[in-house]
């Protein structure tokens, strides 16, 4: 893990008019690392991922990809540099088949004289094998995504991003709407992808999920980084405290018996 970071963001600030959404956030992702970005609602997580994925341009700060300073003018730019984002709700279209979703925007075509057709043979074969690698048994590739569970949908989205050459995968709260079993499926997928050398930014506000797969943890609070800790250097309780800003939660925790 001593390589240059796949992506490095240094002192990122983002102002929206008079509102300072990010006031100096730094984060780096190494190959094969799962970097958890934790923060409560309103901490600036969403703004930060949007900067990382090219949706917003930072007001101040530096973005480096493979050690070279870059600027993303659009999500396309970021995607071309291997930075892919999987949004929680906006990744899959439930009415469409798994294959159609998997290849959406990058459909393989085959020529037939002057005409170009969707190459379903290739598309279906690749989709099936990629899904199998992720541990999902599809009944058939033209099964609608709506028939899959929430965790499986996230997995399809992740598999798609990886197949199309993502070096850094930004996962926006992939587990927040899932049940226990579904969550562990997604965490297993993250683990599998990480082993292939892809760097992962895992955004969550669930410390337990972060602890399950994270190598490093960065906590955001009120637009600032509260520091980055390696796995083993920090406990679940400490992370939880940092996220919520300490005092109030400590009081709450007493009455809830440490279950938050």
């Amino acid at each position: 893990m001593a390589d240059t970071p796949l992506i490095e963001l240094i002192g990122i600030e983002k102002h929206f008019g008079s509102v300072i959404a990010l006031a100096g956030v730094s984060l780096s992702v190494l190959p094969g690392e799962c970097h958890c970005l934790l923060g409560d609602n309103g901490a600036g997580k969403s703004t930060f991922i949007k900067v990382m994925s090219g949706v917003h341009q930072p007001t101040r700060g530096e973005i480096r990809v493979n050690g070279r300073e870059v600027g993303f003018s659009s999500p396309r730019d970021a995607m071309n540099m291997g930075i892919a984002t999987v949004y929680q709700d906006l990744a899959m279209i439930p009415l469409m088949s798994v294959t159609r979703n998997f290849w959406m925007g990058r459909e393989p075509t085959k020529r037939f004289g002057p005409l170009k057709f969707f190459d379903f043979e290739k598309a279906n074969a690749v989709t099936m094998s990629e899904m199998r690698r992720m541990g999902i048994q599809l009944r058939e590739p033209d099964q609608a995504v709506g028939t899959l569970s929430g965790g499986e949908r996230q997995t399809v989205a992740i598999a798609r991003a990886v197949y199309f050459g993502a070096k850094v995968l930004i996962l926006d709260e992939p587990t927040s709407a899932l049940g226990v079993r579904q969550t562990s499926n997604v965490l297993a997928t993250i683990d599998r992808v990480r082993k292939g050398g892809v760097g992962i930014v895992f955004i969550t506000h669930n410390v337990r999920h972060a602890m399950a797969v994270g190598d490093r943890f960065t906590v955001l609070n009120r637009g600032k980084t509260l520091g980055t800790a390696k796995r083993g250097e920090i406990s679940t309780e400490e992370l939880q405290d940092m996220m919520a800003g300490g005092a109030e939660l400590a009081a709450l925790e007493g009455s809830l018996g440490g279950t938050v």
């Binding site: 999500p75 279209i93 469409m96 990058r106 170009k116 709506g146 028939t147 562990s184 337990r208 797969v213």
Partner: protein, 379 residues
């Protein structure tokens, strides 16, 4: 912390999920978006076979009768279908038919354009208006329902105004005379396979006129280009939607525009192109009608937008976009045409047509909703 790791590692990955039932091939072939429309078409045919089987409805002449009406519906249904799957509506289809018809007649008869130039100009103007519809919808992000409702009134008013301002009437005749000998006019108003039908008549296989000035000529003397256009548009629409990259973009644009944009689908371009295609289909309809009647009227195409939408919905498309089938829409148009003409053959009071249609629409939507849930896992 350790409990998390164990949870991750204890994830079992069943090979061949025990909860996924094996689905029989037959059922898989059956459960498709067009199923509702197929059932509807069969039901309608069975009904009229018994109700009007002896009236000549299923003779060659009868088939041509309801076939032509169905083809009319199909032409505009294909456009409406693709647009609806792309997530938008066009309520200005009917007005566009009137407008394009008047354009052709006005340019050819009043302004003495050669017929081919009049037709091509009408196509260019109509498709440009379609593009404008799409551009306004995409840029303002308003519901296309509202934007094209405005176009419905603007175009209809403009059509009547243009017609009256230039010729002082709302019906422009004499188109056939101008189109005589033109190369493009028969592409919309002509008939094909005339030789075959003449031969069939000579051989005594099909009926001929027994009296009058056309005695000895076949009653049906060819396949009208209207039907050919309907067939071509259905095939084109079906292949475009199910077999091409662009077809996938149409589904994606209507299914979830934001998700589609996230992966780089040019959603706005897809939507604008579909508005243009809808306008193109409306103009094909208008051109065929003007060539057949030899005249254009400013009130043509009234309510056609709703008939197109009904055919598409009977065909299994989802009103909110992202799901549907061109074949289904074509079958919807067939049901529509057969019912409309069949009631006439069966001698049923014609005012009951709408009652019938309403019932079919309701049944089709209920059935389609059920089928769609089976396929897509919607809850």
């Amino acid at each position: 912390m350790t409990d998390g790791i164990q949870a991750k590692e204890s994830v079992s990955r069943p090979e061949g999920d025990e909860r996924v039932k094996r689905v029989a091939g037959v059922r898989r072939a059956m459960v498709r978006p067009e199923l509702g429309a197929i059932c509807g078409a069969i039901a309608v045919f069975v009904y009229f076979f018994f109700a009007a089987g002896n009236t000549g409805m299923f003779s060659l002449e009868g088939v041509m009768n309801w076939g032509t009406v169905s083809a009319q519906f199909a032409i505009i249904a294909v456009g409406a279908c693709l647009l609806m799957i792309a997530g938008e509506f066009d309520l200005s289809v009917g007005s566009m038919i009137g407008f394009a018809g008047i354009m052709i007649a006005l340019l050819s008869v009043h302004y003495s354009f050669p017929m081919w130039l009049a037709i091509l100009s009408a196509f260019a103007i109509a498709v440009a208006i379609g593009a404008l519809n799409g551009y306004v919808v995409v840029k303002t992000k308003l519901p296309s329902f509202i934007v094209t409702l405005a176009s419905l009134f603007i175009l209809r008013g403009l059509t009547i105004y243009l017609s009256i301002a230039t010729t002082r009437q709302t019906i422009i005749g004499g188109v056939r005379e101008v189109g005589e000998g033109d190369w493009l006019a028969p592409v919309f108003g002509g008939k094909i396979l005339k030789g075959l039908f003449a031969w069939l008549a000579e051989a005594g296989i099909i009926a001929t006129y027994t009296g009058g000035t056309r005695a000895g000529q076949p009653v049906v003397d060819g396949i009208p280009m209207l039907m050919v256009w309907a067939l071509l548009l259905i095939i084109f629409g079906h292949i475009l939607l199910t077999r091409t990259q662009f077809g996938n973009w149409i589904f994606a644009s209507g299914g979830d525009a934001q998700a589609a944009r996230n992966v780089g689908v040019p959603v706005n371009r897809v939507k604008i192109l579909m508005f243009m295609f809808t306008a193109f289909c409306a103009t094909v309809f208008a051109a065929c009608q003007v060539m057949e009647f030899g005249s254009a009227a400013a009130d043509r195409g009234l309510l056609k937008e709703f008939e197109a939408i009904i055919a598409v919905v009977i065909g299994g498309a989802l009103l909110t976009g992202g799901y549907g089938s061109v074949i289904g829409a074509a079958l919807g148009a067939l049901v529509f045409g057969v019912v409309q003409q069949g009631l006439f053959f069966a001698g049923v009071e014609s005012s009951l047509f709408r009652v019938f249609l309403g019932i079919i629409l309701l049944l089709a939507v209920v059935l389609n909703t059920y089928i769609r849930r089976l396929i897509t896992g919607e809850r």
